[in-house]
Every structure is written in structure tokens, then in C-alpha cells.
């Protein structure tokens, strides 16, 4: 930057102060370029579910019906650290029992949700694996290029659900650039 550019920027700071930032922010609220008017095309959707997610509300099914023809991946991730902790404290058998119970719960949950999504013209894929609820969702979104993430605000929550939005969901959305629907 030459000496005059620096002088202009210094004078600009003295004259305008923070006024320009406030004005620009205000304009950004209602000025959109044509490319920003276009909704992003959604071809693949990731929906992570767990026992805290709760029922998918009817309004969300209505919203998802707009993406008819897209593929939906329903993923149930059992928290690896929890199973490891149970194995260390209660033993391998108890951990295995819990794993099987989770598998059964996941299967039942997916069976409940998948037909509704298929009725909307969405192609449903199911996955269940052990891992980290936050890190693996972020990894899947990034590596497999999903266009949209749909996640419950209670996903990965604790039993008491003290936070309005679970810390797991907050961590996920902070790391993603793709659109996210939180229900």
C-alpha cells in the first residue's frame, strides 16, 4: 500500500470512525445480489438422529418435501466414549448389551422415520456406527459433500436437556459452511 493509500485510510478512520460499519451492516440487511436470491440446490441431506432427537415435527416433513428426489442419509452414531466408559466400569458383557440395545433402538427409530421420508419422494439410506456425534457429523458433511444438514436441537443432549440447543449441535454448526436446519 503506498503512502497516499495509508494517508487516506488514516483520514477515513478519523473522519468516519465506526459510522461506516454501522451503515454497511444496515444496508446488508436488505440488499441482496441476484446470486444471493437463488436458493442453493439440495441433492443430498444428512439427518443425524439419536434417542434425544425426539419426533420429527410435521412442519419439517413439509419443508423436506420441497427437496423431492434428493437422497437422505439417516445416521445413528453411538457415542464410542460412553461405551468405552461402560466397558471399563461394568465390564465387556454390559457394554455389549448396551451396544445391542442401542442398535435395536436405532433400527426402530430409522424404521419409523424412513417410510415418511420415502413417501415425500426422498431416497433414504441408513447408517449406524460407533464414533463421535459431533466430529463424525462434521466429517461426513465435509467428506461426502452433503448439501444440507437437518438436526434436532437436542441431538447429543444429556438426559436433563438443560441447554436450549445442545453443545454437540452448537459445535457442529460452528464448523460447517453448508446450510443447516435445526428443529
Amino acid at each position: 500500500m503506498d503512502v497516499f493509500s495509508r494517508l487516506i485510510q488514516r483520514k477515513f478512520r478519523d473522519i468516519a470512525g465506526e459510522r461506516y460499519e454501522k451503515i454497511a451492516k444496515r444496508y446488508r440487511e436488505f440488499l441482496l445480489l441476484p446470486e444471493e436470491f437463488v436458493l442453493p440446490e439440495i441433492r443430498s441431506i444428512l439427518i443425524p438422529i439419536d434417542r434425544f432427537s425426539g419426533e420429527i415435527p410435521e412442519e419439517l416433513y413439509d419443508t423436506l418435501s420441497a427437496y423431492s428426489g434428493a437422497s437422505v442419509t439417516l445416521v445413528y452414531i453411538s457415542e464410542k466414549r460412553t461405551l468405552a466408559l461402560i466397558e471399563q466400569t461394568l465390564g465387556r458383557d454390559e457394554a455389549e448389551k448396551l451396544r445391542n440395545a442401542k442398535m435395536e433402538f436405532a433400527r426402530a427409530l430409522v424404521l419409523k422415520i424412513a417410510p415418511r421420508l420415502e413417501e415425500l419422494g426422498l431416497r433414504v439410506e441408513r447408517r449406524h456406527f460407533m464414533g463421535s456425534k459431533s466430529d463424525d457429523v462434521i466429517r461426513l458433511m465435509e467428506n461426502e459433500n452433503f448439501d444440507l444438514l437437518v438436526v434436532s436441537r437436542s441431538y447429543g443432549s444429556e438426559v436433563t436437556k438443560t441447554s436450549p440447543v445442545s453443545p454437540v449441535v452448537l459445535k457442529i454448526v460452528q464448523h460447517l459452511e453448508s446450510p443447516v436446519i435445526i428443529y
Binding site: D2, F4, S5, L7, I8, Q9, R10, K11, F12, R13, D14, I15, A16, R19, Y20, I23, A24, R26, Y27, F30, L31, L32, L33, P34, F37
Partner: protein, 428 residues
């Protein structure tokens, strides 16, 4: 202290302070206040003489107009005007250039130039991004229109406020003398910009259709944050401008008109006065105060009288003085802030009044001080603000880019203005 030493100190403080202001290494307000403090501390300006040097007309006129602008701004009035202007242009680059320049000049003639360009430039940049064309000619047109519009009235630019107050000139006198000059200069400037950038101002029909559909999506009503305040602001601004037209017949000072408008708007809008008064540019007000005291030191020590006598030794007529003052103030304003320049020139012209008719000289000073700022990128606050915004939004306008067009605009507009003043007061 011996008189010559005191005078030497006053000149030294004055020059050091002006050097600090030009370099911008220290905030201009800090520099002016420091200089003022030194001359007060040394007793060069006696404390009892302070009220006669502090030009309260200028200070209160500025404060009153700042209150009105800051209150009206909260309603979204300026964003509304910007969107309306963009819609009127209907995606035509020529119309965008013309309409934004005219609107900028009109608003700048009533309100301060910095606020005007701060509020209109984001919209102008948005439109040029929509049109996918070079924003430089549009930004330059906005800068020149703001400075030219400000020259048209008593309240348009701080130098005019200072000149009006010092010489006792009315709003109508300014409008009659500077208004026609500003009108001619505005369209000449736009013509020059069009000639220089005409190739960059063409867009296809398909692009124009796309722009029109995007502009249709914009709702100017959305920009209005407070409809009640919006209507009250418009009413008060119109009322204040009307009062300016008749202030001399009513025998009231322009500062009183501005303060009345400000207090009516505050009372009517029920806005939190603390919030509004906080937004007044106190740094600018204190900058003026510092300058008045600094120039007061030159008056007190007799320096101004000596310089005036020296000038009068070389200049024999009002015509010669007209040319010298217009070009000196124009060229100086392109380099130095026009406010300190005007503050120093006013007592000088007053002192010349003992041996010639100085009435036309006030218009020469106004012409040079206001339009000289078009010459360089740092010549006026509006230039700095538009270039600063452009830089932040990724549009690079270098000092040389500005200089090439700015100098032409400055010389042409000052020459036209000087010609009109000459025809009016000296004769053909």
C-alpha cells in the same frame, strides 16, 4: 514579552499546528486544541478576548444541523432516498450516474457532505455490482457532486458556514451567487466524467433486465426503521430549509434556525437526547474551536494585518484579488484541509476591506475552498470517505487515478465559477 517575539511565537505555533494537521500523524482535533492551548497558555490570546474569536454562529449552526441529521438518520430516510434513486435509474448506467450525482448534490447542499456520501456510497456500490461495471466513474461523480452541491448554499459546507458567519451573508445571497455556479459546474463535471469513462458505461439488454428484476425485489419501505420519525424528520428538514430562505427578512441568524429545527425535532420525535447528542461530531466542533483560537492569535498579534498590507502592496484592484483568492484557495484546498485554510483567509479578507470592495472576494473564497477539494484524493472529507469505503469494498482508486480526473474537474469548475463571479461583479 516583546511584540515581535510574541508574533513570532504565534506564527510558529500556527505553522507547526497546520503541519501536524496536514501530516495527519496526530488527529487534526488534537493538533488544533494543542495549538490553541499553547497560545492561551502564553497569553497571546487573552482569556477575555476568547468569545470574540470563537465564532458561535458557525459552532451552533454546525451543532444544530448535526442534531437534525443524526436524528433523521435513525429513521432510515437516507437509505429510502438511495433505494428510490436506484429504482428511478431503471438499470441505465447513465441515469445512475446522473441521478445519484444530482441527489448527492441536493442532499449535500443542505446536509453535511460526509454523512451524505457515507449513506449513499454503499447503495451506489451495490448498483454498480448489479450492473457488473466499473464503479470508479460513479464514485468519482459522487465525490465531485458532493463538493459542488456543498458549495451551493450557506449550510452546505463548513467553509461556507464560516464565510457566511464572518461576512454576515444570508442563505439567499449564497444561493443566488453560488447556486448557479454549482449547477453549471455539476453538469460540466458529469460531462467530463462521461467523456473519460464512456466506454465503461455500456451494459447489455439482458443485464439490464436482470438489474431491473433485482431492483423490483427491493422495497424502499423496508429501509424505514421508524415511520413516525421518518415523517417528522422530513417535515423538520423542509421547515428548516424554508426558514433559511427567510431568515434574513425575519432578522434571525442561521444558527438560530438550525438550533430551532434541532430542538423541535428532538421534542417532537421524543428521541433520547443523550443518544443523539452522543452522535454529534464533537471532534469536528473542537477542531473548529481550536482553529478559531489559533487564527485569533494571528489577529491579536497583528500578523493578519501585516500580511493583508503586504498582499495589498501587490494587488491593486478587486478583480486581481478575486483571481488570486480563488486560485490560491482552490490550489491550497486541494492539498490542505479547507477548514483551516478558510479560518486563516477570513480575517485576511476582512483586513483587505479597508482599501477595496471585498464582497465578491467572499464568493471567490467559497468557490476556491469548496471546489478546490475536488483536486486531490485528500482535498476534502467526502473524497476520503468515498475512497475509504471503496478500498474496504475492494475497489481500488489510487491517488493518481483521482488526481488525473480531479485536477481537470477542479481547474474547469473553478475557472467557470470565477468567470461567472467576474461577469457579475467586475463586468465583461
Amino acid at each position: 514579552m516583546e511584540q515581535t517575539i510574541v508574533a513570532g511565537i504565534a506564527v510558529a505555533v500556527f505553522l507547526v499546528t497546520y503541519a501536524m494537521i496536514i501530516s495527519e500523524r496526530v488527529h487534526r482535533t488534537v493538533a488544533a486544541l494543542f495549538g490553541a492551548a499553547v497560545v492561551l497558555l502564553l497569553g497571546i490570546v487573552p482569556w477575555e478576548a476568547l468569545p470574540e474569536h470563537l465564532d458561535l454562529d458557525t459552532l451552533f449552526l454546525l451543532i444544530g444541523m448535526m442534531i437534525i441529521v443524526n436524528t433523521a438518520k435513525e429513521s432510515g430516510l437516507f437509505e429510502f432516498i438511495a433505494i428510490k434513486t436506484a429504482k428511478f435509474a431503471k438499470g441505465s448506467p447513465m441515469k445512475v450516474l446522473l441521478l445519484f450525482a444530482v441527489v448527492t448534490a441536493l442532499i449535500s447542499s443542505v446536509l453535511d457532505n460526509v454523512t451524505t456520501v457515507l449513506l449513499l456510497t454503499p447503495m451506489l456500490l451495490y448498483i454498480t455490482r448489479l450492473m457488473d461495471i466499473n464503479p470508479v466513474p460513479f464514485l468519482l461523480a459522487e465525490v465531485f457532486a458532493s463538493n459542488i452541491g456543498g458549495a451551493a448554499t450557506l449550510i452546505g459546507d463548513p467553509p461556507n458556514i464560516m464565510i457566511g458567519s464572518a461576512a454576515g451573508l444570508s442563505f439567499n445571497e449564497f444561493l443566488l451567487n453560488m447556486g448557479p455556479i454549482a449547477l453549471v459546474d455539476l453538469f460540466i463535471s458529469l460531462g467530463i466524467i462521461y467523456l473519460v469513462y464512456r466506454k465503461a458505461m455500456k451494459i447489455s439488454d439482458a443485464k439490464r433486465d436482470r438489474i431491473l428484476s433485482t431492483l423490483d425485489e427491493l422495497d424502499e419501505e423496508e429501509a424505514i426503521r421508524d415511520y413516525s420519525l421518518f415523517k417528522k424528520s422530513v417535515a423538520v428538514i423542509i421547515g428548516v430549509v424554508m426558514l433559511f430562505f427567510i431568515h434574513d427578512r425575519l432578522g434571525i441568524e442561521p444558527a438560530v434556525v438550525a438550533l430551532t429545527g434541532a430542538s423541535v425535532l428532538l421534542l417532537w420525535s421524543r428521541m433520547d437526547p443523550e443518544e443523539i447528542l452522543e452522535k454529534i461530531e464533537w471532534t469536528a466542533i473542537f477542531f473548529f474551536m481550536g482553529l478559531f483560537i489559533l487564527v485569533g492569535a494571528l489577529v491579536e498579534t497583528g500578523i493578519i494585518d501585516q500580511v493583508a498590507r503586504w498582499i495589498l502592496g501587490y494587488i491593486g484592484s478587486t478583480g486581481e484579488a478575486l483571481i488570486v483568492i480563488a486560485w490560491f484557495s482552490a490550489i491550497s484546498s486541494a492539498i490542505v484541509d479547507n477548514i483551516p485554510l478558510t479560518a486563516a483567509m477570513i480575517p485576511l479578507i476582512k483586513a483587505m476591506g479597508s482599501s477595496m470592495n471585498v464582497y465578491p472576494l467572499w464568493w471567490a473564497l467559497s468557490l476556491g475552498a469548496c471546489l478546490g477539494g475536488n483536486g486531490t484524493a485528500i482535498g476534502a472529507s467526502a473524497n476520503v470517505v468515498v475512497l475509504g469505503i471503496a478500498g474496504r469494498e475492494g475497489v481500488r482508486i489510487t491517488f493518481m487515478d483521482f488526481l488525473k480526473v480531479g485536477m481537470v474537474i477542479m481547474f474547469v469548475t473553478v475557472a467557470i465559477g470565477l468567470g461567472l463571479i467576474w461577469i457579475r461583479y467586475i463586468g465583461v
